[in-house]
Amino acid sequence: MIPLSWYLILSAVLFTLGVTGFLVKRNLITVFMSIELMLNAVNLSFVTFAHLWDPVKGQVFVFFVMMVAAAEAAVGLAIIISVFRARATLAVDQIDLMKL
């Protein structure tokens, strides 16, 4: 028997680690991975609250989040590839202009 708040704390810790990675990492791909980590942490808290209140509706919401995350990953990685073609670098410090 585990208090549900433990799951929420775990979700908060994972979200914070994702935020830290987003702010601290200097590689475009790793920054993008941190966004995925944040999405996963939010999904965990969705599932926890679904367990608490409405199991089915909450899980359907997580399913939609997963679909949007998959679409976002595909488009984001395509953008990363085209940025790399234009700049030949992945360092976020050097990618600070939208113009070529």
Binding site: L10, V13, T30, T48, P55
Partner: protein
């Protein structure tokens, strides 16, 4: 039993996320992110979300992370170098992240009556999820399929090499 499983997989998730932060090479970060996502799938299973555990493994740990590792290998991404910006982001970003964690944790710990999770309690079968998804929420589901189609077209259009003129030149 439940406590051991929770501590094991929660620890694995946090260790994987920390490792993702500390590794310098993107491929190591990608592999530790797979560990995080797989242990999250086990946690979903412990919360009774059978379908989501399977979807987490297939969609996240399978599809999305394969995409990530392929892009890392395709772009031949090397170790990230330390710059002035990275030092500044550590000194500013780390306290900001600690503040965010403190705020969220204080809100969660203040909340009363969250109750407990029992192993094998409130298991939601895939049948129940699909009954809601395909009857009540069928319109959002179809809209999502349009979104995925647009994402596919966008990814192809963005990642295509050059435009038409370049191809003519090559011939």
């Amino acid at each position: 039993m439940h406590l051991i499983l929770f501590i094991l997989f929660a620890g694995l998730a946090i260790a994987g996320a920390l490792n993702m932060l500390l590794q310098k090479h993107p491929i190591n970060s990608a592999l530790s992110l797979i560990v995080v996502m797989t242990s999250l799938a086990v946690l979903y299973l412990m919360l009774g979300a059978e379908f989501l555990a399977a979807a987490q493994v297939i969609v996240y740990a399978g599809a999305i992370m394969v995409l990530f590792t392929f892009v890392v290998m395709l772009l031949n991404a090397g170790r990230e170098e330390r710059t002035l910006g990275s030092k500044a982001s550590w000194s500013v970003g780390f306290p900001a992240a600690v503040a965010i964690l403190a705020i969220i944790a204080s809100v969660i710990l203040k909340a009363q009556g969250l109750g407990n999770a029992m192993l094998g309690d409130k298991i939601t079968s895939t049948e129940q999820v699909s009954a809601v998804l395909f009857k009540e929420l069928v319109l959002p589901f179809e809209v999502t399929s349009v979104l995925v189609l647009i994402a596919i077209l966008g990814a192809v259009a963005l990642a295509r090499r050059g435009d038409g003129e370049e191809r003519k030149d090559r011939r």
